[in-house]
Symmetry: C2
Subunit: 301 residues, 2 copies
């Protein structure tokens, strides 16, 4: 017992928690704070040459978070910006496929992980490039935290104007972990689909971002009105107005409603951002508008 008490009031503490042999026995109140600081420092170093960091949040899953992240990155790259995407989704990461680099892999070097280059020179780091597409990994808590750290702190981004960060659905610890590592996020975009069910979850995401003092640049609505290519009839298949309502409720700008459009899904599966292949389409125009908004909010316009 004396031994344990000694550890707890250890005066020889170097305040370097990681690598400390007493780590698991240590009860000092500053323990976690110090560890978080070490992590934040490491992340800051890894992202030192990244001018702006934007997080793409969606609340509910499957609403188009990755679609927006990939197209925002492409729209910024089309303006001549140096852009990277950090895919923080481990359980079914979709960024590599949506940018057509799913078979390219990622190189390890002694200095760190080398991001893969996609269309328009966009640099991509994703667990999807490390694991095979058919590999089934059950991500337990500690593994996720390690992978989060690996991708935030050990990727050799070099100089970037923008890093777009794609996070898993929800307001869970996965998203919070990323925000803790990168507390100086410049801003966020939020995506919802029109339905009520999705909005309730997106609302929680906006509240979380506001609590974390991350400016929400705007809200996208995805899977909006469908226009019949033959007769021109417009149908709100998945309801309507959800994006506008959530923007109003949270006092955040509404960027636009991305319509249900075959080209959007085709491009995602083909690995070409729709804003690049069909810049004139309604979806394309919304992503160009989003890029302009981001440039303005980041003082780059």
């Amino acid at each position: 017992m004396n031994e344990i008490n000694d550890i707890n009031i250890d005066l020889s503490c170097t305040e370097k928690c990681e690598g400390c042999e007493k780590y698991f026995d240590c009860n000092m109140p500053q323990k976690d704070r110090l560890l978080v600081q070490v992590r934040m420092q490491r992340a800051r170093k890894a992202l030192a040459q990244v001018k702006h960091k934007i997080i793409s949040v969606g609340g509910k899953g499957g609403v188009g978070k990755t679609l927006c992240a990939v197209n925002i990155a492409a729209a910024l790259a089309m303006k001549g910006r140096k852009v990277g995407i950090l895919d923080q989704v481990f359980d079914g990461p979709c960024v590599p496929r949506m940018l057509g680099v799913e078979r390219k892999g990622m190189e390890y070097t002694e200095e760190g992980l080398v991001p893969t280059e996609a269309i328009l020179g966009i640099k991509v780091a994703s667990m999807g490039l490390i694991l095979g597409e058919d590999e089934v990994v059950t991500w337990f808590h500690e593994m996720k935290r390690n992978a989060t750290e690996e991708l935030i702190c050990h990727v050799l981004w070099g100089e970037l104007d923008y890093l777009i960060v794609d996070v898993p659905a929800g307001t869970s610890s996965d998203t919070v972990n990323v925000i803790q590592y990168i507390p100086d996020m410049d801003g966020a975009t939020v995506v919802t689909v029109p339905s009520e069910v999705s909005q309730a979850v997106a609302y929680k995401a906006v509240v979380l971002l506001q609590k974390a003092n991350i400016p929400v640049f705007g809200v996208f609505e995805n899977q909006g009105t469908f226009t019949c290519p033959t007769c021109g009839l417009q149908t709100d298949i998945l309801q309507s107005g959800g994006g506008l309502r959530i923007a109003g409720k949270t006092d955040v700008p509404f960027i636009g409603s991305i319509p249900l459009d075959q080209r959007v899904a085709e491009c995602a599966d083909d690995g070409t951002p729709v804003v690049y292949k069909h810049p004139e389409s309604e979806a394309g125009q919304i992503f160009i508008k989003a890029a302009e908004l981001i440039e303005k909010r980041c003082g780059m316009a």
Copy 2:
């Protein structure tokens, strides 16, 4: 040091890990195994009067897992079965809203949690009934595990023919935890949307279920072909064939493709299962077929 060694070779072990004061110092190889057994026993006791347990899995988020869970439950209840839904989603649970009970809450008693009754007598247990809709909770690892246990082991289901379990997207520890608690799951249904991106994730879910020896009763495709209500033109807005392809690849029956149909989204937001309100619709017919398949596979037909 001697004290710690003593603990590690403790011969007074009662094999009752929970409540053991030496728990955190204990390194015995059987520690976790015993704990899992205790949990499994507790779950078995709570579900003793439940004849069949079906898990609704989706791989990727937002593909319609909860939609399928709710409509399968309704279709089985329409056949006169006693049905419950256990909503294991904590981060944006949607079951209460889709069954119109989001404001009903759940009663605590000394014996346990009383499930809320929805349309057709369906019993519902969900964190969404305990938390308010606007309440933002960041679910850290331990909280999730505790909540999983709370809902699996402390709900007073009483006698049920079927318990449908809705789990979060992905093949992550959230889903695995549920499967560990309920190892005698009768079967699973898997949902995907037509796109390639979604299929890759659904495939991983099927592989996980097969590894866990849970029979996959069938695969649904959601958000399939849209038929224009004016001119009748059929459009595969979100691509096509994904459900059939994954069923073929994994050798699992294909249940059907739920079309993109305004009524499906309307019913979800209104809190009435589409199979109940529009049993004649294509979506309704697919859920009736799924219920028949489940009855057959569970020996209840």
